[in-house]
Every structure is written in structure tokens, then in C-alpha cells.
Point group: C2
Chain length 148, copies 2
């Protein structure tokens, strides 16, 4: 079952509707290997005059973000890779909340984070906090860019 299908199933279970625009948006998101912006999504889905309105894009991105299906990336390198837009998003695979972004080409690779989660929860407790969640963004140069 693909990421898009999993998202649709969950939406359905949560009482949301599985609509054409949502299918199209999810499908498009799956094709990205780099952080993308809402505007870029809009453009790639047909832009002005296309079948999907801007508002729907933003509302859907918000929905996905709220349910943890998307993660925001906001460092300069990531933003630049995403055409200069301020907010870039990355699809989140189950259990792979963390990711590493290439500062050169912007490609994103999800990484397993059990150890990170453990370490994070320990750090939180050390500060007296009740740990809830964390988000880690790594930056570096990907294998492909290293060869150039």
C-alpha cells in the first residue's frame, strides 16, 4: 500500500472524505524527492485555470501537516532548494519522522530515529520536561553531489 493510499485510508477513518483533488494532491506529493512548497504543488497540478484551486492545496497541506503526514523543513538550504519559498514540506513515511536534506541539491532521505527518540526523551527528562515528541533535521551533502 502506497503512502497516498495509507493517507486516504486514515482520512476516511477519521471521517474525512476521499475526493478527487485530495487524490491528485497526494499522488503529486509522492513524486517529489525534494522538499516542496504549496505554491509548487499548485503549479505542478495545473496552476491557474487548472482543475484544483489554490485554496484546496493549502487546506489539504494543512490537513496533512496536522495529522503528521507531512513534515515542515525550514532551513535556508532547504528553502532555496524549494525555489526560494518560505515553507517546504516533506512526505513522512511511517515511523520515519526524521530526515536528512542535501544542502546542494535538496534531495531528502528519511532516516530511522529510534536512537534519536530515546536520546531526545532522555534529554527532555533531564530538563524536567514530560517528553512528547521531537523533530530532527540533518543537513549535509548527498552521495551524488559528493561525486561532482
Amino acid at each position: 500500500m502506497s503512502w497516498a493510499e495509507r493517507v486516504l485510508n486514515t482520512l476516511s477513518v477519521h471521517g474525512h472524505r476521499v475526493t478527487g483533488p485530495r487524490r491528485a494532491i497526494l499522488e503529486q506529493i509522492m513524486h517529489y524527492s525534494q522538499p516542496f512548497s504549496a505554491e509548487q504543488l499548485f503549479r505542478d497540478l495545473g496552476g491557474v485555470g487548472g482543475p484544483i484551486g489554490r485554496a484546496t492545496i493549502y487546506r489539504t497541506v494543512d490537513l496533512l501537516l496536522g495529522d503528521g503526514w507531512l513534515s515542515r523543513v525550514h532551513w535556508r538550504a532547504a528553502r532555496e532548494a524549494s525555489n526560494g519559498h518560505d515553507h517546504a514540506y516533506v512526505a513522512v513515511e511511517q515511523g520515519l519522522r526524521h530526515h536528512i536534506v542535501c544542502r546542494n541539491c535538496g534531495v531528502v532521505v528519511a532516516i530511522a530515529g529510534e536512537q534519536i527518540d530515546v536520546l531526545a526523551s532522555q534529554s527532555a527528562e533531564h530538563a524536567g520536561f514530560i517528553y512528547e515528541t521531537c523533530s530532527l533535521e540533518l543537513y549535509g551533502i548527498c552521495p551524488t553531489c559528493q561525486l561532482r
Copy 2:
């Protein structure tokens, strides 16, 4: 030497000027214990008609961000704590790049991250990347809020 003084020294060394507005902005930032937005900074420094223009706030925040003196926080909880504005910033103490944010009151505590950095660099290498840097945001409930 305070954070503001350290920042000013570094700016000076880098060929930037130590001006009144910059002093005021740095001073104000030191007073925050929660993530703050550019707009909030502008308001707290006098707002419209005040001694410092909006443009200066934004330009300075950008400068500080670029040199790593500020860190961006962008999760919903943090944003809400920061009056609903999209971008929230946190002053970065030397070596304490990571921080934990209380989901309830928004208070921020810096945390040491040697272990996190080590783990991050290992994860990056495991993915074939040349590690450069990382940013970790933890979320939880602070000691004070736990008592309520």
C-alpha cells in the same frame, strides 16, 4: 559577557557596525524566555512611530539567523505560543543549538547536544551523506506546567 555583547563583538569582527538599533534589538531578545516573532520584536521595541523601523527588525533578525545566533522554531505549538505568527525565533547560546519547547506555555530551555550531534553525524554517514549540521526541536511539558 552577555549574549548580546558576544553577538556585538562578533558582528564587529566580521566588519559589521555596532549601531543603536542593533543594541536595542539584541537587548530585547535577551529578555524573551519564549520563542518570539519579528512582529512581536517590532511591537515590543515601540512599534509604529517607535525609534526602530520594521525593516531594521527584519534585516537584523535575518543577519542573526544567518550567523547562527538565532534559531527558528516552526512547529504549531511553538507558533501558537508565539501569538500565532508563522516564524518564531530563539536566541542560541554558544554550543546549545538544540532546545526543548513547552507545548503548554511555550517556554524554551536550551539543551546540550554533544550526544545528539554524534548520533546525527552517524546517521548521516549511514545514509552516505557528508554531515554538516543538524537542528533538533523537542516538545513536551515543562516542570511548571506539570504542577497545574
